[in-house]
């Protein structure tokens, strides 16, 4: 019976492999150019019923902050909407909304980005507005205190979000006091004490042309769009002072697993236990391997628990991998207090050790490939999703990675994953916090 089951599963796995069509076979192509001042533009033409997504990335994330600037990355992202030397408060948003879009921005540990989806013909005008907002902001003193109050409310609201708490706990466990370990939105105390001078210092140091990548995806002509990007961003002078956003990125080397750490309970939501690993990332292949490992671990944990789950518990463990400029975060989160049967350290340790020793089975690898590719396809279904993926990966040095996901995943075999797991995962910490490796 068991043998029959295995052969059926093997057949399914082979079918998985056969149906895994490389996303780049007849997929999108990228057209790139770098301006004299260092701004890089990437255009991905694609039929999208007259729409286009604009996503402009800057190397200005929270991990770039210096010790006296904690909170500045997030603060700057808010103040970018508050006006430039040619546009008053609210006029940046108004200009984009008059073009038919809605402007928003986000901050990660490595980057900040500003993005909008608009009618394709509005892209040149939108690029001009975004260039002005990003590189010509006045950071006016009278807006700093108003925005401080808004950010404090945002931080308070974020405390209600268990999913965010889990990810932040994983970063804190893996990187401790190093830049990646600090919360990306910063702490209320940092925001409360940050003055305009330090905000402005961060802005001038990081928001410079050589730190900017412009991504446009949609119903656009590549050459005309590159030309529009040149008009919008080309006139900004290159920085003439030494130092760049990257200077302060001092992260610890990849290291052993950390955890479990426990998140705080919320109304109706149990706390979670988090295990985290700091993995190395030499190139995007490592990022794909980490993502595959996370998918394999998540599935293996579900299977490992299933014999006991006929009773009460359906605690779902999540595993994910987050690529960063200075490594990769891989974490596992499991709710506790749900009938007391969360993933145990022993079960997780056995899964991780098996992967490091034997690697995943063919079936596990096939299922993981399908899941990772499925998520990738889903993200890239929209222009906005593809623009986001392209911008993130361009910042990480490999713009083609997202559109070649199918091909790249196909090229990773069991032995590759075993070697990667053996090098970076090992085991998980014992009760005493020692690495059992």
């Amino acid at each position: 019976m068991w043998r029959t089951r295995i052969s059926v599963l093997t057949a399914v796995a082979i079918m998985f492999s056969c149906s895994l069509r490389p996303a780049c076979a007849d997929g999108p192509r990228l057209v790139r150019a770098t301006l004299a001042n260092g701004v890089t533009s990437i255009v991905c033409p694609r039929p999208s019923r007259g729409l286009a997504a604009v996503d402009v990335w800057v190397r200005a994330g929270s991990a770039v902050e210096r010790p006296n600037e904690f909170g500045a990355a997030h603060f700057v992202e808010h103040l970018l909407f508050r006006g430039t030397s040619t546009r008053g408060p609210g006029e940046v948003d108004r200009a984009i909304e008059l073009l038919g879009g809605l402007l928003n921005a986000g901050t990660t540990r490595d980057h900040a980005h500003m993005f909008a989806v608009l009618p394709a013909e509005a892209v040149p005008d939108a690029l001009a507005v975004i260039s002005d907002a990003l590189l010509g902001s006045t950071m006016a003193a009278e807006h700093v205190n108003i925005e401080r109050s808004v950010i404090l409310d945002e931080l308070a609201a974020a405390r209600n979000d268990p999913a965010r708490d889990a990810v932040e706990s994983a970063f804190r466990a893996a990187w401790g006091d190093a830049p990646y370990g600090r919360p990306v939105l910063s702490l209320a105390g940092d925001i409360a004490s940050l003055d305009r001078d330090r905000i402005l210092g961060f802005y001038r140091r990081c928001y410079r042309p050589e730190n900017v990548i412009v991504v446009v995806v949609g119903d656009v002509s590549p050459n005309a769009t590159l030309e529009a990007a040149k008009r919008a961003f080309g006139s900004v002078p290159a920085a003439d002072v030494a130092g760049s956003a990257r200077d302060s990125q001092t992260q610890p080397e990849p290291g052993p697993a950390c955890g479990p750490v426990r998140t705080s309970p919320r109304t109706g939501f149990p706390p979670e236990e988090i295990w985290a690993w700091r993995l190395g990332r030499r190139d995007s292949r490592d990022a794909f391997m980490a993502e595959l490992l996370a998918a394999v671990i998540e599935e293996a944990l579900a299977s490992a628990r299933s014999p006991q789950s006929a009773g009460e518990t359906f605690a779902v463990a999540r595993a994910d991998a987050v690529p960063l400029a200075g490594g990769i975060l891989l974490y596992v989160a499991s709710p506790i207090g749900v009938a007391g049967k969360a993933v145990s350290s022993a079960v997780l340790d056995s899964v991780v050790r098996r992967l490091a020793t034997d690697g995943p089975s063919e079936i596990e690898l096939a299922v993981a490939r399908r899941r990772v590719l499925g998520r990738s396809l889903f993200r890239q279904e929209t222009c906005a999703g593809l623009a986001r993926d392209l911008g993130l990966w361009a910042m990480l040095g490999d713009a083609e990675a997202p559109i070649e996901a199918g091909l790249r995943l196909q090229q990773i075999g069991r032995a590759d994953l075993q070697a990667y797991a053996s090098r970076w995962l090992g085991g998980i910490p014992t009760q005493e916090g020692k690495q059992p490796r």
Binding site: R21, A23, R82, V150, A156, G268, V316, G374
Partner: protein
């Protein structure tokens, strides 16, 4: 040149109509129609409506099966619809839970069911070569869901988890306001984290809902993407040939008419939960999609609060810096709509804002809640 283009377009239409006709013949239907935007409309032998639109070169296929539960929604207890929607991809008559899981992965790993006040949507985004598997999976969910104990328990646990995740001031405020606006109507049936646990629902209740709601006459399947339309319709026809459940289910009479959505009264409710922010939610009832005023509702909502250049955003966030989440949202359903104005409020501004904000958001009347 213009004539050549016109001929090419005409040929395209003829080919499409020909394909549709062939597919219609195969299923015993001759009701296929081609819309101006290239969408083929087809009805299967059992009465399922099918919409197919080819988007060559996209490399993806999206399949969405929308079920209109009709009268089933009016009869069902709170939570039944949610658990049924979450359980249909569990074990079924023809597939074990393990088999379903394999099929999910095989069809792209992106399979989900989503409920709205009007419908349950089963959706899958996949690659063209996994299209048949995906249609098979959705077909099984429509026809043969079995609601075994493990699947239902998992669905209930997942519903619990998601409700707990959403237990935040803004979402609770919106749910309370909606319940107050649509008393006695299915749109007013909402579950708060404090409501009874849906795990206590009987399997018999779920099956009754499933058999009443999941009927061909209430089902529409849309396929859009990198597919050949004729083959896609054939595939759907083949899967739906034994989807022949019958029911007297009908949609309940329309809720608010174009006149009775007007509100002059004010109704305020304060909800207290453990949270680190306060939310102010003001909501009003509006005409639904079936109304000729639906477009006006959308435009009005955009003017009042959607976007960061809106008066609401400017007044509350940009000028006063009171809260982070400020805006408006309108959900248009078939026979009604709910239009929310929301603001999260920083603690330092709590008292003065909670008292004044709803009137500022809806001078004419509202059903509001503040959640802290």
């Amino acid at each position: 040149m213009r004539r050549c283009c016109a001929i090419a377009r005409a040929c395209g239409v003829l080919v499409a109509l020909g394909c549709a006709f062939m597919a219609g013949s195969a299923s015993g239907s001759n009701r296929d129609r081609l819309a101006e935007d290239g969408t083929i409309r087809h009805v299967t032998a059992t009465g399922v409506r099918v919409l197919v639109r080819a988007e060559p070169g996209s490399g993806l296929v999206a399949i969405v099966a929308v079920v209109d539960p009709g009268e089933a929604d009016r009869r069902a207890a709170a939570g039944v619809k949610e658990i049924v929607a979450r359980s249909v991809f569990g074990a079924g008559a023809n597939l074990s839970a393990e088999g379903v899981a394999r099929e999910v992965y095989r069809s792209g790993g992106s399979v989900a069911s989503v409920t709205s006040p009007d419908s349950i949507a089963l959706r899958c985004l996949t690659t063209p070569n996994a299209f048949r598997d995906a249609v098979y999976l959705i077909g099984q969910a429509l026809k043969n869901a079995a609601f075994d104990a493990e699947t239902v328990r998992r669905a209930a646990a997942a519903a619990d988890r998601d409700r707990a995740m959403a237990a935040q001031p803004l979402s609770i405020g919106a749910a309370v306001a909606r319940a107050k606006l649509f008393v006695g109507h299915p749109y007013g049936v909402v579950q708060l984290p404090s409501d009874p646990n849906p795990r206590s629902l009987a399997v018999a209740d779920l099956l009754r809902y499933y058999r009443t709601a999941f009927v061909p006459s209430g089902t529409t399947i849309a396929v859009v993407g990198d597919i050949e339309p004729r083959a896609a319709i054939q595939t759907v026809d083949n899967q739906m040939v034994d989807y022949d459940r019958r029911s007297g289910a009908t949609r309940p009479p329309a809720g608010p008419s174009s006149d009775d959505h007007r509100m002059t009264g004010r109704d305020v409710e304060r909800v207290t939960i453990r949270a680190s922010t306060t939310a102010v939610v003001a909501a009003c009832k509006a005409p639904g999609r079936a109304s000729s005023d639906a477009a006006a509702v959308r435009v009005l909502a955009a003017l009042l609060g959607e976007g960061k250049a809106s008066r609401l955003f400017r007044a509350i966030r940009d000028v006063r810096g009171i809260g982070y989440v400020v805006g408006a949202e309108t959900q248009l359903w078939r026979s009604g709509a709910c239009s929310w104005r929301t603001s999260s409020v920083h603690r330092s501004a709590h008292n003065r804002t909670v008292a004044r904000a709803p009137t500022a958001m809806f001078p004419g009347g509202y059903s509001g809640s503040s959640t802290a």
